[in-house]
Symmetry: C2
Subunit: 124 residues, 2 copies
Amino acid sequence: MLIEIDFNSDEAFYMQIRNQVILNIAYGYLAPGETLPSVRQLAEDAGINMHTVNKAYSVLKQEGYVKIDRRRGAMIDIDYDRMKVLMELKSELRLVIAKSQCKKINREDLHALIDEIYDEKMEE
Amino acid sequence: MLIEIDFNSDEAFYMQIRNQVILNIAYGYLAPGETLPSVRQLAEDAGINMHTVNKAYSVLKQEGYVKIDRRRGAMIDIDYDRMKVLMELKSELRLVIAKSQCKKINREDLHALIDEIYDEKMEE
DNA sequence: ATTTCTGTTATATCAATCATATAACAGAGA
DNA sequence: TCTCTGTTATATGATTGATATAACAGAAAT
């Protein structure tokens, strides 16, 4: 798994890692049961501090994407609490939709955009 | 327009204001041409500092939701740069979709959820 | 003309967060 | 025993979030 830090981004390093791990899972590059690199290894590869990686892993654990075993490290283990996920997703989408409406992006535009994103994943 | 700060939230005050303004516009409670309360007025009403409100307004200006006139204050004036908006929306949705996929929320679920949010706005 | 309302700018301070650094610890495996 | 895990503890520096006080320029109302 490749993770790269954009040192010029205004997004926190640990959030960049967290997001890239989520994207890797979604794309199928990381399957449940597989382990993430150790905090020290990833820190070295990415050129950042161990604790920053550790924070990213802690967030991923808290959000239900990995479980951390002292010996094996962080393993992909997803918590499927559908109700919880739908609630969180809904409040996140409420703001996305509000922003869209302000900018005259309507319901159909949004549906189309989502399909577009789903379809672009097939091109690889 | 009513804006309330959740002092227990971990979300920055200026982002809470920014988000609530966007929601107010989307819901039609704030129309283009209307003005926001003055930074001092809103600060007093919400129980926070003037500069925090000022920061929220600056962000809203930078994101193309308001224009600020020295005499009138912040006026709703939306920049409709469709291409720009679609690009930003797309990268935002990519992560939302990735998170959803990890949690076994599929394409149809997402479409349904969006319709659900659109429809709930009609109930008022 | 003076007062009063805008946003804006300049400082300063304090707390929290982000990132780094060094160091040590416990547990598991080779 | 050595080496690999994550974990914990401390410390430091930079940045951000929020507050505070103060002053300024421009416009509007009286």
